[in-house]
């Protein structure tokens, strides 16, 4: 990702671009106006020089005596670049072609000493002036004064160079202006963005769990409200999280204490109940019945306590996964074997299925589902392992009477028993709830369905 200052949608970049745009618009407009005026001034100046020189040259010839108004006599009087016209006749051809002289221009040359000029292009000007010459060759009493018009095209000297220099200076000034404005914009933008950056850093730290982070309240006036709101928000979060931590710690202690207090008497009862059950054949009938009841109730109580402790651990968010790369097939084999179910449960599985799971919890899941199928279903009970994209799939199948559709979701509830006739004789009613909790903890799902007279529990576990 590009750094913030390089991104067009970044505040800093936008401010820099705005600054440059303002400078370009203002300086460009000013330079344009100044250039236009300067251009006009340069032309006027060059034109004035050209006209003054032309006038001086021609007027100095006024009243000059010539021997006949002929091309030969004119050559010594007028400079070569002047086209000399007398009564419509060209007596000397200079820089102005007589056919190119507009009639409006030549018609204006009727009065002596009245200068006419016309700008031809950006670098040339046409000049014209009439004077009187005295013709010494005319007959006595004849006309001795003749009106002679001189027309010339002269260059406007240095106009383009001056204009080029002017444009160069304008371009350089504009470039420097853009650079300086860019730097200035960057500096101002950085100054403006700094409090926002601080706010961003503080928000990131708070999001990462650093709840001690606070912003100084004496910063930019416009951000004061935001700063106060941010600080209040973090302070409130800190208080809530501390309360949650305390509550979690209390729950953890409560679960640990309850677990310890319940387990300690059971720790004494369990060995005694085992001894009692071993002695049942040697006891008188009534005592044997009593011993059997005590022993079986202790077994149920032990299981109930274990299930309740495990459930309260899930409820108080104390249940943690100890993940390892496990072969689900070997794990299932071990689960069946350790409970003596290998001979009564069919296992259908590929060579191996490697998944990242907590093997103790998956063992509990398998044991609960298979145990349930063996207790409430009918043989044959079958465990099928397979994979589908991203998931390991465990099917636990039995051929029992099945579960009515209305109970299919309810059976996962705590203490729910489908078969009311079973009363309290079997299980704690927590086994399936714990199974669900353990599967969910892995990010998996569990379903039950009736397929061709078979009850199928399906567990899906993410492979990674």
């Amino acid at each position: 990702m590009k750094p913030t200052w390089l991104r067009v949608d970044g505040l800093r970049t936008r401010l820099v671009l705005v600054f440059i745009a303002i400078v370009v618009i203002i300086a460009g407009a000013t330079a344009g106006a100044v250039s236009l005026m300067a251009r006009s001034w340069i032309y006027s100046n060059a034109q004035d020089v050209a006209t003054a020189q032309f006038r001086d040259e021609v007027l100095s010839l006024n009243g000059e005596h010539v021997d006949g108004i002929t091309p030969t006599s004119m050559a010594s009087v007028f400079p070569d670049d002047m086209t000399v016209i007398v009564d419509g006749d060209v007596v000397q051809l200079g820089s102005a072609n007589p056919s190119a002289i507009p009639p409006s221009f030549s018609n204006g040359l009727v009065s002596p000493k009245l200068l006419r000029f016309e700008r031809l292009d950006s670098e040339h000007i046409m000049l014209g002036l009439s004077i009187n010459l005295t013709d010494t060759s005319s007959a006595p009493g004849g006309k001795d004064q003749t009106l002679v018009s001189a027309v010339a095209i002269r260059p406007l000297v240095g106009v383009q160079d001056k204009f080029d220099n002017l444009l160069g200076v304008v371009a350089l000034t504009l470039t420097l202006g853009v650079l300086v404005s860019g730097l200035l914009g960057f500096w101002i933008a950085s100054t403006l963005v700094r409090p926002l950056k601080r706010l961003d850093d503080a928000a990131s730290r708070a999001a990462d769990g650093d709840l001690s982070v606070r912003l100084p309240e004496d910063g930019v006036a416009e951000l004061a409200q935001l700063t106060t709101t941010f600080n209040n928000m973090v302070a409130r979060n800190e208080a809530v999280i501390n309360e949650l931590k305390e509550s979690e710690e209390q729950s953890r202690r409560f679960v640990a204490d309850v677990s310890h207090e319940l387990r300690t008497p059971l720790a004494a009862l369990v060995p005694v109940s085992e001894i009692l059950s071993e002695e049942i054949p040697n006891l008188p009938p009534d005592t044997a019945t009593a011993a059997r009841i005590v022993s079986s109730e202790i077994t149920k109580l032990t299981r109930l306590v274990e299930d309740l402790i495990e459930m309260s651990r899930h409820d108080s968010q104390q249940a943690r996964l100890v993940l390892d790369n496990i072969d689900l097939v070997s794990l299932t084999e071990r689960t069946l074997e350790s409970r003596g179910w290998s001979d009564i449960v069919e296992l259908s599985a590929p060579q191996n299925i490697s998944a990242r799971v907590d093997s103790r919890r998956i063992d509990i899941v398998l044991a609960n589902l298979v145990g349930n199928a063996l207790r409430h279903g009918s043989p044959p009970v079958r465990v099928e392992l397979s994979t589908e994209p991203g998931y390991a799939v465990i099917h636990v199948i039995d051929h029992g009477p099945g579960i009515s559709p209305e109970y299919r979701q309810a059976i996962f509830r705590r203490f729910f028993k489908v078969d009311t006739a079973r009363g309290r004789s079997e299980g704690s009613g927590l086994g399936l709830s714990l199974t669900v909790e353990n599967v969910r903890l892995h990010g998996g799902s569990i379903d039950v369905d009736q397929v061709d007279g078979r009850t199928v529990f399906t567990v899906r576990l993410p492979l990674n």
């Binding site: 387990r263 059971l266 720790a267 004494a268 071993e278």
Partner: protein
């Protein structure tokens, strides 16, 4: 038959468990707290069965004290079932961790397994190489003696099995399950934490700086690898 030293403060629990274990053929001597000096009792015992919540010294402390002077197998038998307690117990040097209530038969099986693991293994000598040396670590598979920088280390049987398993395949990553099968000869369902705890203890003995281990590397998400050429 195993000679067991049982340290348990609750008289009813102690009596019931002793009754159960005695019926299964074990000899159990009982201590009600952690204040006693265990020298004589330890000499006579094959295994210590230890509760955690005890008056006087706490169970972890007793476990560490025993470990400083003996490699005797220790099983913690406690009502505390939190993961953190299990890990702390195993890291303190226990070989197994059993949560109460436990049936005497289950306890008997765990006791036998731990004692079996602790018995010195005598593999055929012809397959054994001479003592191997990795850096300043010398491992003699025949005599089961491990030396670091010339000094012999006091390792528990579990730790010896673990280091033998690791050094048998230097450079190879072994998963926790593989190490469980190799160093603990029974299947511990779910208790891969027992491997982590044992590795921690082993590192504290063989590494120069256990916080920066060079011999036993953790391969995140997989397991552990023994580095035969430490930095």
């Amino acid at each position: 038959m195993v000679n067991i030293l049982f340290i348990e403060d609750d008289p009813a629990v102690a009596e019931a468990i002793m009754l159960g274990l005695n019926r299964l053929g074990h000899t159990v001597s009982h201590r009600p707290d952690g204040n006693t000096d265990f020298d004589d009792a330890l000499l006579a015992a094959d295994l210590v069965l230890l509760d955690l919540g005890l008056p006087g010294a706490d169970g972890y402390e007793i476990c560490r004290r025993i470990r400083t002077r003996s490699a005797i197998p220790i099983i913690i038998l406690t009502a505390r079932s939190d993961d953190i307690d299990t890990v702390a117990g195993l890291e303190a040097g226990a070989d197994d961790y059993v949560v109460k209530p436990a049936s005497p038969r289950v306890l008997d099986a765990r006791i036998k397994a731990v004692v079996r693991r602790s018995a010195p293994t005598t593999p055929p000598t012809e397959t054994l190489p001479a003592a191997e040396t990795f850096g300043d670590l010398k491992i003699d598979r025949a005599s089961l003696k491990i030396h670091k920088a010339g000094a012999q280390l006091t390792l528990t049987p579990t730790e010896i099995r673990l280091i033998l398993a690791l050094t048998q395949n230097p450079g190879l990553v072994l998963s926790r399950q593989q190490l469980l099968s190799a160093a603990w000869d029974q299947e511990y369902l779910g208790d891969s934490r027992i491997v982590d705890a044992a590795v921690q203890r082993l590192r504290s003995k063989i590494e120069d700086d256990p916080a920066e281990p060079t011999f036993i590397e953790t391969v995140r998400g997989f397991g552990y690898r023994f580095n035969s050429q430490p930095r």
